[in-house]
């Protein structure tokens, strides 16, 4: 698979995805949990720029020992891309849709070499 150079490692952020265009296709790249992930910037729902929305943690319902609802909380160990068009959420780590893990963002293999970031396309 051909590799495409995207940027220097130091140019990547862990808060905001950087968007690259390769042969007419936009790819969102972000540092996440000490690795770098890259996804096509197209939401499988209606095509929104999914990597350009907010990054939000999973929302959890907390129940007590009697399974009564206590409160909601954020689980910051599981961060999501939120598509800005309609709010569909995807795990940044895997690209799986929260509502249906069979639906996934299109992922690219990332290579980090000599302080440079490449993707296989």
């Amino acid at each position: 698979m051909p590799e495409k150079l995207l940027c220097a490692t130091a140019d990547l952020s862990d808060t905001t995805a950087k968007i690259f265009e390769i042969e007419g296709v936009e790819i969102g790249v972000i540092r996440h949990n000490d690795t770098v992930v890259a996804y096509r910037n197209i939401c499988p729902h209606q095509g929104g720029p999914v990597c350009e929305g907010l990054k939000m943690p999973r929302v959890c319902d907390e129940l007590d020992e009697q399974k009564r609802s206590v409160r909601q909380s954020f689980d910051t160990t599981e961060m999501h891309f939120v598509c800005p068009w309609h709010g569909w959420e995807f795990k940044i780590e895997t690209g799986e849709a929260i509502g249906d893990p069979k639906i996934r963002l299109s992922r690219y293999k990332v290579i980090e070499r000599d302080a440079q970031i490449y993707v296989e396309v």
């Binding site: 905001t16 910037n41 197209i42 209606q46 095509g47 929104g48 720029p49 350009e52 929305g53 907010l54 990054k55 939000m56 943690p57 954020f74 910051t76 939120v82 800005p84 068009w85 309609h86 709010g87 959420e89 249906d100």
Partner: protein, 412 residues
């Protein structure tokens, strides 16, 4: 008291998704879809889109006759709208996740034309929409205002402002203007005042009414609409304080059920009281409840009607036969894992002639034209009719194509 640690704000104004908000950028992928699908080759009309009229409230109030109500609205700037327009509890923006809500106010526009025209044109051009039927947003709840005179005054002022500042200025925009059905006499006056105005293609009933739609007091309204050849739209809304919805504890629940329930109530009254027989030339369009409710209601009403025809003596055919002659806007179309059900729905409602594409943009559950164009069970002509041709017929529109499409055609 120990205050909790300052929680992270995941949708702060500093986030690039909000700070640098621009409609054209947000919708760049929609524009790609428009190019890939050759929307330049045909007319697309969006029959249900919105603006946030309260952002222009000081302008709108200049068109209000009642000086005391005008003062009420202007005295506290936009805060004054609390006295004029009912406020909805809800989370349309998904706590900031849908960035066009917090971002909209930061978007820059040139001094002319009107800000609403610029913002509307930006999303229309991105989606490939040539003409849009523009509706208000907070005013969709105006019919629930406890003071009927406020509803009438706001309706008239808004309609005047919309006609003069928006519809007169841009022939790509039209509207079914606000009809205060709660006050039948005033509703008749509104029809007389606005039926012939440029860009007015019908009249709109919004949400829940104080009296049922079939109330005898309303008959002159429907006669007048019929005389003018103007369609009547029923734009659904949710009302969380409605007794049947008040047990729902989540916004998703009240939104999913509330919109459909609103039109189910009006449609049931409309059909079972024989309104289509009383006003056979009055065309109705049922807006923003998705499509799944229609087969459900057709089946329920037909089944009961065949056992209890004496309950609905004005009917000369089954309820579904009347419903199949009405018009429906498409959004929010139920698209997840139900292709077969959707195809059956299209057949049951005669979608090829009765369905009209709507985006509901900029609201959170908006649909792109590709939701229609990509359906595998529709032929090319049916797609084009649903996306624009059916609206052209219903509203008797002179199609105005967007500039970018005309230029793209010239360029081949």
């Amino acid at each position: 008291m120990t205050m909790p640690q300052n929680p992270l704000n995941y949708s702060s104004d500093a986030d690039p998704a909000i700070k640098e908000f621009d409609t054209t950028k947000l919708l760049k992928n929609a524009r790609k879809q428009a190019l890939e699908r050759n929307y330049k080759d045909f007319f697309i009309c969006d029959v249900d889109s919105h603006h946030y009229e309260t952002e222009a409230l000081p302008e709108i109030l200049q068109y209000m006759d009642d000086p005391v109500l005008r003062h009420l609205g202007l005295s506290a700037g936009n805060v004054g709208r609390a006295g004029l327009i009912p406020q909805a509890i809800g989370s349309q923006d998904m706590a900031g996740r849908v960035t066009r809500y917090p971002g909209r106010s930061k978007e820059t526009v040139p001094p002319t034309p009107h800000r609403d025209i610029t913002l509307t044109r930006r999303w229309m051009d991105a989606l490939g929409v040539d003409m849009a039927c523009l509706f208000p947003t907070p005013m969709l709840l105006l019919a629930t205002h406890p003071q009927p005179e406020v509803e009438v005054a706001m309706a008239r002022a808004y309609n005047r402002w919309l006609c003069e500042r928006i519809l007169e200025e841009d022939k790509r925009m039209c509207s079914m203007v606000y009809l205060p059905i709660n006050e039948p006499h005033e509703a008749e006056r509104i029809i007389d005042e606005f039926a012939e105005r440029k860009g007015v293609v019908g009249f709109l009933s919004t949400g829940y009414l104080k009296r049922p739609i079939h109330d005898n007091a309303n008959m002159r309204i429907f006669s007048k609409l019929e005389e003018h050849g103007m369609p009547l739209g029923f734009h659904a809304v949710y009302n969380w304080s409605d007794s049947s919805l008040s047990q729902l504890n989540k916004f998703i629940s009240v939104h999913a059920l509330g919109f459909a329930f609103c039109n189910i109530i009006h449609m049931t009254n409309w059909v079972m009281n024989g309104m289509p027989e009383r006003f056979p030339k009055l065309r109705t369009m049922w807006i923003e409840s998705g499509l799944a409710w229609i087969p459900f209601l057709m089946q329920r009403l037909d089944n009961e009607y065949m056992m209890r025809t004496s309950d609905a003596p004005l009917l000369k055919k089954k309820p579904s036969d009347y419903m199949r002659e009405m018009f429906y806007s498409s959004q929010p179309m139920e698209l997840v894992d139900n292709r077969e059900a959707l195809e059956v729905t299209f057949k049951m409602i005669n979608a090829e002639t009765q369905l009209l594409y709507s985006s509901d943009y900029p609201h959170w559950d908006m649909d792109l034209p590709s939701t229609i164009y990509d359906l595998p069970f529709l032929g090319e002509q049916a797609k084009r009719d649903i996306l624009g041709g059916n609206a052209q017929k219903l509203f008797n529109l002179a199609p105005t194509m967007s500039e970018w499409k005309l230029e793209a055609r010239k360029a081949g």
